[in-house]
Amino acid sequence: MEIRVENIRKRFGEKIAIDCFSAVFPVGGTTCIMGPSGCGKTTLLRLMMGLIEPDEGTIIGMPERKSAVFQEDRLCENFSSVANVRLVCDPHVTREEIIGNLSEIGLGESLFAPVHSLSGGMRRRVAIVRAILAESDIVFMDEPYKGLDAALKKQVVSYVQEHTRGKTVLIVTHDEKEAHDLGCGILLMPANGPEEDKAPD
């Protein structure tokens, strides 16, 4: 089984964000998406999430239950880490489970402070735990590990791998080393039309 993106095209006004792009993602596996800044990675994820409609093309085989780490954290600023995670959890997920998950990646000290008072890397981890604990078959991650130092990143990566076993995972990253370390399929997105000629290097 696989998720198929076929001849998809999306423009915002004049701007062509994705120009006739196709790809296939294996269900139950992890795929890294790479490409230059502005090539449409985030837009591709939003299309697959069903948040925006493509102008042309189809997406086939998307599971119902989705979760995501967005490029920005998108947390409820005045609520605590625990509350932010609970927001997306099924009722059967206990408070202990949430606290356990947060503690596992080093947030045990700041469980109940409003997330606006957390450091950048801490907020990122809250967003990651939220994506993991939400009931889902596919997890979208848009540069999930940015802002984490090397040691922490290792820890978080293994936390994510452990908790997404069997799920489809799409990870956008700019770090080739990271992509190779994950040992997964890599999808390279080309810079899109008008930007192509001006693509750096």
Partner: protein, 229 residues
Amino acid sequence: MAALALGRSLLLVSPLDVVIRLARLSSTGSFWASVAFSFFRICLGFLAALSAGMVLAFLAARVKTIEIMLWPYMAAVKATPVASFIILCLIWIGSGGLSVFISFLMVLPIIYTNVLQGLHSFDPKMEEMATLFGVTPLRRLYYFHIPQIRPFLLSACGVAIGLSWKAGIAAEVIGIPSGSIGERLYEAKIYFSSADLFAWTAVVVLLSIGFEKMFVALMKRSFDQMEKI
């Protein structure tokens, strides 16, 4: 200048006179009865409008058709001069209930418009997040909408409480229900008793300030409380 002097001579009372009058008034039982009469009715009108305004705003934010349908009503409620429907009000609800109704009508569009504006200015990125995770409406309310409308609701209440008193007392001065503050103001006016007029005006302003301070503080606390889960 002449007008100013005229105004001053008309007052004919010093602030001290007003304070003394106020002290004397407040030692009578009927003073407190009048205060209770008007306070109860005006606050009832305010609270009813607060609830109704919020409910309508939430409905309108969810269903665009409702917003469009409500628009002419709200515009009419806002702009229709009281003089145009006072007779109908008196027929339907009598002078006793008039202040409840008029204060309700004054507050409703303020709450509705502000809360709706608050809901409309919700960050689309958070909206996307909620959609993706399939956040339930109840949780949306709790996590997004209530924090979102907070500043709008606070400013709406800040202004609506004062105006509900203004409008409610005006309704009492028109309907003159026995035992209301409006009746006292009416009497003070027709007997040219400036000390009474100012004393009762001070009472109205103080009641309004007191209620506003209390209510807004309570609201802030419950907002804060809600975020501490």
